[in-house]
Every structure is written in structure tokens, then in C-alpha cells.
């Protein structure tokens, strides 16, 4: 045990400590992997000229958990909890994205009620994701109070999740083919209350930032990237829209009946930290509208599809009906016939296009499952964003990109 760690400690971290040389122009700063200013496990070795960033070298993989390998050994319904732990700020989007991927492979179509229920939950998740990101930008620019405010409101969303599925953060929400149970009256009440309170909170929140002189000085033209470069870097989501490209998976390839609703896709102009912040703020408002519309127009009907080979039967039936017992056994033991084939499905996650590339050979688990994680793809542009800026802006740029370590390292 000691040999594994003691000898290799310095070697594993790739850090060589240089002797002090006063004639040298540049200094090297090791930022991370555990650093109070980086929210997550990111290591950047920066070359600094005074406070100016000259060069940055990234190391990732500090919480690599081998999701894709695990997915090759688990039956389909057991992969939902894995997706929770990718972007844990908006787990329900990941859950539902995966379930829709399997539904696409099975070629089943969900009913409008399921679609609308999914929209409500996914937009709630998007709000929490953006709340965390925007308030953390605040924390990093020196404004701690708004963080405490919005965390209280995020707790309310967690209460809604708890009411729906019983869990707060890693939700494992929904099943392949719908939901495990219908929304109860308390869910509707809690969502309505949330919708009533939220615009007022957002107004206060925006007042603290959008025209704040200090905030403007810290964020405008900081960490900017052009639309061409960001497309070449594979940006998606709010970070791409901040540069002025109006690409949103919800609009480009509508899933889950998003085409029934009218909503705006906010875009920025400069692709800087301020634009990324503002785009997220506006998206929160659009999401609130979407939830309101979906709630008002929620059709009646069943909350799940009748696909017995994937949807676990109700527990009473398992105890009383032969067929339900058989299906229950088959699903839990993973002895389900799945059509062979390959599909790619993507949803608009909190940070961009969250894609699932699923290859099935007909076995109990996927032959190959690749996650297109937006964070992993756009985080590689970070050195380009911070080059030439000062060190404190590099921190702010990192939080405005909203890189989630779990999604980054898979």
C-alpha cells in the first residue's frame, strides 16, 4: 500500500518543482486539483507573467469513474442511475435523455402527457443548473449573498423532486416508457408556488448583477470567444448561444413535444463571461414560461406506456398476476430481448447538447454506450479563453463555463 502511493506521489501529479530563479520572466502556478477557487476537480498549470496568463496546461481525469465501461455490464434500466452522476446539477435531464434514447431504439412513441411531464421536470432541472452556475459566478466575483438566496430556492426544487421520485440530487427519475408514478396534488401545488416566487427572486437577483459596475468591469470582454472558434471547439448550449449562434437542440431537433411550445432562444453577441451569465438568466425566465405552459396544457392520460418488457409492473400486480410476475422477474434479471441497432439521441442539457450514442447487439446490456458530454468537449477551449487575461479573470471564466467535474471525466 505504501509503495503504491509514497514513491509515485510526485510522479503521478506531473508536477516538477522548479528552483527559484529571480531572472526568470515567467512563473508557474499549479491551480488545482483541489483549490478553493475552482469548483470541482480541475488542474491547470498556468504560466504567468506577473498576473497575466501566458499559457495553461490542463489535466483532467481526477474523478474518472468509467461510466461507459459500467454501462456495458448493466441492464438498460440500471443505467439511469449512472446518468444521474454525470451532470449532477441537472440529473433529471440526463435520466430522461437516456430513457428517450432507449425509447428511440425500441421505436415507441410516448404520449403527450408523458412528454409534458418530462418537459416540466427537465425545465426545473435546467433552472437549478443555471441557478448554481450564475450564483457561483457571483461568488467568484465577490458577491456571496445571492448564492445564499438562490440556494434556498433550489431547495424548493429539490422538494419537488422528492415529491416526484423520493430523491433530492441523484434522482433516478422516470422509467423507460414514462414515469414510475403520476404527479400528486402536492407536486402541482409546489410547482405553482415555485413559479409564483421565482420571478420575484430573479428580479432581485438580476438587480444585483446586470447593471452592477463592479460586475460589469469584471465580466464584460473577459474570456471572450468568437462564434467560429466556439463552433470549431464544439461548444453547445448557453456557452455557444452567448457567442451569437442560436443552436438549441430543443428547437433544432425537437424531442418530447418541445415543438408544441413557444419559447425564445436567447443569444449573446460577444461570447464573454457577461453574455454567458445573461443568456443563462434569460433561459431561466424562458424555462419558467415553459413550465407554466406545460402545466396549464397538461393533457389527461396515462403517465407511462404499456411496454411490459421495460416498464416494471405495479407491485400489487406482481403479487397477484402471473404475467406481471414474469415480466418483473425478467426485467430485474435483465433477460429482455432488445432490438439490435444503433441510435444517437441528444437532448439540451444544462450545458449543451447531451448526446447518447447507443449500440445494441440484442443483449441484456448495451454493446457500447458513448456519452457526448458537453463539458468534456468545451472545457478544452479554456486555455484559449484565458490567455492574455489576468489570473482572477481566469477563475471567473472557469465558473462561467459551468464545467461539471462528473460530466467532464465521465
Amino acid at each position: 500500500m505504501t509503495g503504491f502511493l509514497g514513491d509515485k506521489m510526485a510522479e503521478n501529479q506531473n508536477i516538477t518543482i522548479q528552483p527559484v530563479d529571480f531572472d526568470k520572466r515567467y512563473t508557474t502556478l499549479n491551480l488545482g486539483p483541489t483549490h478553493p477557487a475552482t469548483h470541482g476537480i480541475f488542474q491547470n498549470v498556468l504560466t504567468l507573467d506577473g498576473e497575466k496568463v501566458i499559457e495553461a496546461e490542463q489535466t483532467i481525469g481526477y474523478i474518472h469513474r468509467a461510466f461507459e465501461k459500467i454501462a456495458e455490464r448493466r441492464p438498460y434500466y440500471q443505467i439511469t442511475p449512472l446518468t444521474d452522476r454525470m451532470n449532477y446539477c441537472s440529473s433529471p435531464i440526463n435520466n430522461i435523455g437516456w430513457q428517450m434514447t432507449v425509447e428511440k431504439l425500441l421505436e415507441v412513441k410516448t404520449t403527450k402527457r408523458i412528454d409534458y411531464m418530462r418537459i416540466i421536470i427537465m425545465e426545473l432541472a435546467r433552472i437549478t443548473d443555471h441557478l448554481v452556475c450564475t450564483s457561483v459566478i457571483g461568488v467568484d466575483s465577490g458577491a456571496f449573498t445571492p448564492f445564499l438566496w438562490v440556494m434556498q430556492e433550489r431547495e424548493k426544487v429539490y422538494e419537488i423532486y422528492e415529491e416526484i421520485c423520493g430523491a433530492r440530487l441523484t434522482t433516478n427519475l422516470g422509467r423507460i416508457g414514462g414515469f414510475e408514478r403520476d404527479f400528486n396534488s402536492s407536486v402541482f401545488k409546489k410547482i405553482r408556488d415555485f413559479l409564483d416566487r421565482m420571478p420575484k427572486l430573479m428580479k432581485e437577483f438580476e438587480k444585483l448583477f446586470l447593471r452592477n459596475r463592479i460586475f460589469l468591469d469584471r465580466t464584460v470582454n473577459v474570456g471572450a470567444i468568437s462564434a467560429e472558434r466556439s463552433l470549431n471547439y464544439g461548444f453547445t448550449g448557453p456557452n455557444l448561444r452567448a457567442t451569437g449562434v442560436d443552436y438549441d437542440v430543443r428547437v433544432a431537433s425537437p424531442y418530447s413535444s418541445y415543438d408544441d411550445f413557444n419559447f425564445l432562444v436567447p443569444v449573446g453577441t460577444h461570447g464573454d463571461t457577461y453574455d454567458r451569465f445573461s443568456v443563462r438568466i434569460e433561459e431561466i425566465h424562458q424555462s419558467l414560461n415553459l413550465i407554466r405552459n406545460a402545466l396549464d396544457n397538461l393533457p389527461a392520460g396515462k403517465y407511462h406506456l404499456d411496454i411490459p418488457e421495460f416498464y416494471l409492473p405495479p407491485k400489487e400486480d406482481v403479487y397477484s398476476k402471473m404475467e406481471a410476475l414474469i415480466w418483473h422477474f425478467k426485467i430485474v434479471m435483465g433477460e429482455i430481448e432488445v432490438p439490435a441497432g444503433e441510435v444517437y439521441h441528444s437532448v439540451e442539457g444544462g450545458n449543451g447538447e447531451l448526446g447518447f450514442y447507443l449500440v445494441s447487439d440484442g443483449g441484456r446490456s448495451p454493446y457500447r454506450l458513448h456519452f457526448r458530454r458537453p463539458c468534456f468537449i468545451y472545457y478544452q477551449a479554456y486555455p484559449e479563453l484565458i490567455k492574455g487575461g489576468v489570473l482572477s479573470d481566469a477563475i471567473l471564466t472557469l465558473s462561467s463555463l459551468n464545467v461539471i467535474a462528473g460530466e467532464l471525466d465521465a
Binding site: 500500500m1 502511493l5 481526477y62 442511475p81 434556498q152 431547495e155
Partner: protein
């Protein structure tokens, strides 16, 4: 306006008579330590997000004397490891633990930090107790903030009842030697 509605902790067992109060130094030091723990949040993944909720206004860990988060290991009392520790990260956890000054305690929050959790894979360390000694395990994936508060109170109990000379005891030295920490 002065807020007078604050509570103070109970005094430890001791002998008192008009004008004086006598107790052992261990208890006084333990009392002071247990109510001013400076935690080092070593947050890597999902549990770190629950830690944000724990520090937020709703759950408010600051009530337990842990207002001041110490991001530097040198001044920290309690290492809170929250989230999956990959093998790549293991050396860093150990390094942080070594950098902490005595007395030090460790709380493993969540299934991953305690045992590897659902990630029984080639890249994940199967529990941080393979590299550092752990005082309190908080199970859950992730545990609710209330659970973490209970775990934190368990740590407080340990801190309050421990000898101030723990670090010189042969058992403690033997424990650290097991982990290769001198």
C-alpha cells in the same frame, strides 16, 4: 439591537463551589475544539453539490461552529472527503491529509468515499480508508444534509471526548504507521 437569544454549550463535568470551577484540561480543550471545528471541504463530485446545500441557508452547518471553511489543509481540523476518489486522485487525498496539523479527523461522506459505492471499476479507489484513517462514515448516494449533520455531530462527540495527548498514544502511532504516514 443586541441579540440576546443565543445559546451556550453546557459546561463539562467538574467540581464547583462558590468562586471556582475545577475540571480536567482535556475536557475544556475538547469543549473548545468540538465547537469550533474548521472543516476542509474536499469536494469532488455529486456529494460536493449536497455540501453546497449543507452550507447554504436552509441547513446551515455554521450553527455547529463550522462557519469558517479552511481551504488550506494547514489550518484545518476535519477533512471532509465528499465524492468519488479516483485512483488518480488518491495521492492528493493522502498529501492533503499529511499536510494537516494534529489533531485531525476525517469524515467520509457518501458511498463512494466510504467504499467506492456503485463504482466498482478499475479507475475508482474502493473507499478512502485504503489510504487515510477515517473517523466517521456517512452512507448515502448522496446522503441528505441531515445525515451529514449527524455525521458531523458524531465527529464533535469524538473531538470532545478525546485525550489531548492522542497523537502520542501508541495505538494512534500504530494506526498511522499502518497507512505509511509518519
Amino acid at each position: 439591537m443586541v441579540n440576546t437569544e443565543y445559546t451556550i454549550v453546557e459546561p463539562p463535568d467538574g467540581y464547583s463551589a462558590p468562586g471556582f470551577f475545577a475540571t480536567s484540561i482535556d475536557k475544556v480543550v475538547g469543549l473548545a475544539r468540538q465547537n469550533s471545528i474548521w472543516p476542509l471541504p474536499f469536494a469532488t463530485s455529486c456529494c460536493g453539490v449536497e455540501f453546497m446545500a449543507l452550507m447554504g441557508a436552509t441547513y446551515d452547518l455554521a450553527r455547529f461552529g463550522a462557519e469558517r471553511l479552511s481551504f488550506s489543509p494547514r489550518q484545518a481540523d476535519l477533512l471532509m472527503v465528499m465524492g468519488t476518489i479516483a485512483k488518480k486522485m488518491a495521492t492528493i487525498v493522502l498529501q492533503v491529509y499529511i499536510q494537516m496539523a494534529e489533531p485531525r479527523w476525517v469524515l467520509a461522506m457518501g458511498a463512494c468515499a466510504s467504499s467506492g459505492g456503485i463504482f466498482d471499476t478499475y479507475s475508482v479507489l474502493q473507499g478512502i480508508d485504503r489510504i487515510v484513517p477515517v473517523d466517521v462514515y456517512v452512507p448515502g448516494c448522496p446522503p441528505r444534509p441531515e445525515q451529514v449533520i449527524q455525521g458531523f455531530m458524531k465527529i464533535q462527540e469524538l473531538v470532545g471526548n478525546e485525550s489531548i495527548r492522542r497523537r502520542y498514544s501508541p495505538e494512534y502511532k500504530k494506526l498511522l504507521a499502518q497507512y505509511g504516514i509518519v
